[in-house]
Amino acid sequence: MQNNEELKLALLIALIAMLMMAFFVISFVMYYQKRRFEEEKKINDIEKNYNRLLLDTALNSEETERRRIAQDLHDDIGTMLSLTKLSLNQLSKLVNASENEKQEQIMKKSQSLVEETILHVRRITRDLVPTTLERFGLLEAIEEFIDKLEEDNNLVISFHSNTVEFPRQGQKLELTLYRIMQELVNNAIKHASCSSIEISLEIENEMIGLRVTDNGIGFDPEKIKENNLAGLGLLGIESRLAIVNGTVQYEKPAKGTGSSACARIPVMPMSENKPEPLHPFRREKVNA
C-alpha cells in the first residue's frame, strides 16, 4: 500500500478546478441564453411597434388624401359646376325668348344633367369624408349610412345601441369603427345575398363592441384566410384594429344562416388625444 499526500492534493485541486469549470459553463449558458432571449424580445417589440406606426401612417395618409380629394372636388369642381349652372340659367332665358322647341328641350336636358352632376359630386364628397361622423358622432353617422343604403336597396338594416348617448371617442377610433362597419355591411351586401342586416354598437366595461350580423349564406373566415381569398376588406379590418389594440371575431349567429362579425376595441375617450387638424393641406396653404 502506498500513500501519496502530494498526489492526493493535486487531484483534489484538479477536481475542484474542473467542477468550477463545469458550474461556470452551466451558469454561463443559462445566463447567456436568457440575455439573448431578452434582447430578441426587445427587438421584436421594436419591430412590432414600428410596423404599427407604418400602418398607422399609411391609414392616416389615406384619410388625408381622401379629405384632400373631397375638398378639391367640393371647392374646384363644385364651384365650377355652380357657375355652369348659373350660366345655363342665363342661357335658358335667352333660349326661352327665341321660342325654339328643340333648343328649349336641349336646354332643359343640359340643366338637369348639370344638376345631377352637382348632386353626384356632393354625394361622392360626403362618401369620401364622413362629415356626420366628425360632427355628430358614431350613432348619427351609422344611421345616416343606413338611411342612404336603404334608399336604393330593398334591404332591412336595423341598428341598435345599448346607450342612447354614445360617448364621443377619439377621432381615430370613431373613424376606425365607422370604416369597419362600412366594410362589414358592404361585404354582407356584396357576398352574403342576405335580406336583412343587423348592426349593434355596445359599450361595456371600457370595451366597445361592434357587431354586424347578416342572414345570408355565411362564410368560414379560417378557410378564406387559408386559401388567400381575403380581399382588402378583411385584411384592412385587421390592420385597422391592430393599431387601436382591437380584435375581431367571426362567428355563426345562434339562429339560422348567415354570419356575424364582432369587433372589440378598448375605449379611448376624446379628451385623451389631441384633435387632428381638420384640413391639414388647406391649413398649410393658408399659412404659406
Binding site: 500500500m1 502506498q2 500513500n3 501519496n4 498526489l7 492526493k8 487531484l11 483534489l12 484538479a14 477536481l15 474542473m18 467542477l19 469549470m21 463545469a22 458550474f23 459553463v25 452551466i26 449558458v29 443559462m30 447567456y32 441564453q33 436568457k34 439573448r36 432571449f37 430578441e40
Partner: protein, 231 residues
C-alpha cells in the same frame, strides 16, 4: 444472500447508492413517457444497461470478486450509448458524423487499452483497470456536451433552459465527467487487488458525482409534461 448485500451496502454506501439511484430516472422515463423522444429512449437504454452492469458489479463486490473486468467492459458500452444521445440531439450533419466516427475508434481504443493493461486476460482475479480509455472517454463526452451547449446558445430555440429536460441531462454529464477527468487515470493504480495506491476519500468522488448526475437526469426527465411532450 440479502444479508451479504446489506453488509456490503453498509460498508460501502457511497459506492452502492448510485447503483440503486439509477432506478429513479428509469422510473421517471417510463412514467412521463419520455421514451417517445429518441434521445431519452437511448438514455433509458443507457440507464438500463448501466443498472444491470452496476448491479452485477455490486453483487460481485459484495462477494469479494474482482469487478474490474466488468468495469472495463462497461467503458465502451457507456460511451457508445451516451454519445448516441448527442448524435440524436446535435443537428449539424458534420457534428453527427464526428460522433459516428468516434464510436468505432473509441471501441477499438478501449479494447486495445484493456489488452495492453492486462497481458493475461484469463487472470480475472488480477484484472486491472484500463489506463487511458476512461480519460479519453471523459474528454470526448465533455467535448460533445460543450459542443451541444455551444449550438444551443447559437440556435436560440429554447426559451427556458430550466424547463428543458436535455439541458439537465447535459449538466449532469458535464459535472460527472468533469469530476472524473483527472481521477480516472489514477483509478488504474488505486483499484488494484494488490499494491494499490491509497487516495483516500477521492476514491468515492466519482461515485458521489455519479449520484449527483443521476439526480440531475431525474430532474430533467421530471420536466417532461405529464402527457404530451411539446417540441
Amino acid at each position: 444472500m440479502l444479508e451479504i448485500y446489506f453488509s456490503y451496502f453498509k460498508r460501502q454506501p457511497l459506492a452502492s447508492i448510485p447503483v440503486f439511484l439509477t432506478l429513479l430516472p428509469l422510473l421517471l422515463i417510463w412514467q412521463r413517457k419520455a421514451y417517445r423522444d429518441n434521445a431519452f429512449l437511448i438514455l433509458g437504454i443507457y440507464l438500463m444497461v448501466k443498472f444491470v452492469i452496476d448491479f452485477i458489479m455490486f453483487d460481485w463486490a459484495s462477494h469479494k470478486r474482482n469487478t474490474v473486468v466488468l468495469y472495463n467492459f462497461n467503458v465502451p458500452v457507456r460511451y457508445v450509448l451516451s454519445s448516441l444521445i448527442f448524435y440524436q440531439k446535435l443537428e449539424t450533419r458534420r457534428f453527427k458524423n464526428w460522433i459516428l466516427a468516434s464510436i468505432p475508434v473509441f471501441i477499438l481504443f478501449s479494447i486495445w487499452d484493456t489488452l495492453h493493461t492486462n497481458p493475461s486476460l484469463a487472470d480475472l482475479h488480477n484484472h486491472k483497470m484500463v489506463l487511458y480509455s476512461t480519460t479519453v472517454e471523459s474528454l470526448l463526452m465533455l467535448f460533445w456536451v460543450l459542443l451541444y451547449f455551444y449550438n444551443t446558445i447559437r440556435a436560440l430555440k429554447i426559451p427556458n433552459l430550466l424547463t428543458y429536460p436535455f439541458f439537465w441531462v447535459c449538466s449532469g454529464l458535464l459535472i460527472y465527467y468533469s469530476s472524473f477527468l483527472f481521477i480516472a487515470p489514477v483509478f488504474h493504480y488505486s483499484s488494484k487487488w494488490e499494491e494499490w495506491l491509497e487516495i483516500g476519500f477521492l476514491t468515492y468522488v466519482p461515485y458521489m458525482f455519479e449520484s449527483v448526475s443521476i439526480i440531475l437526469f431525474s430532474i430533467g426527465i421530471a420536466q417532461f409534461p405529464d402527457e404530451r411532450y411539446a417540441k
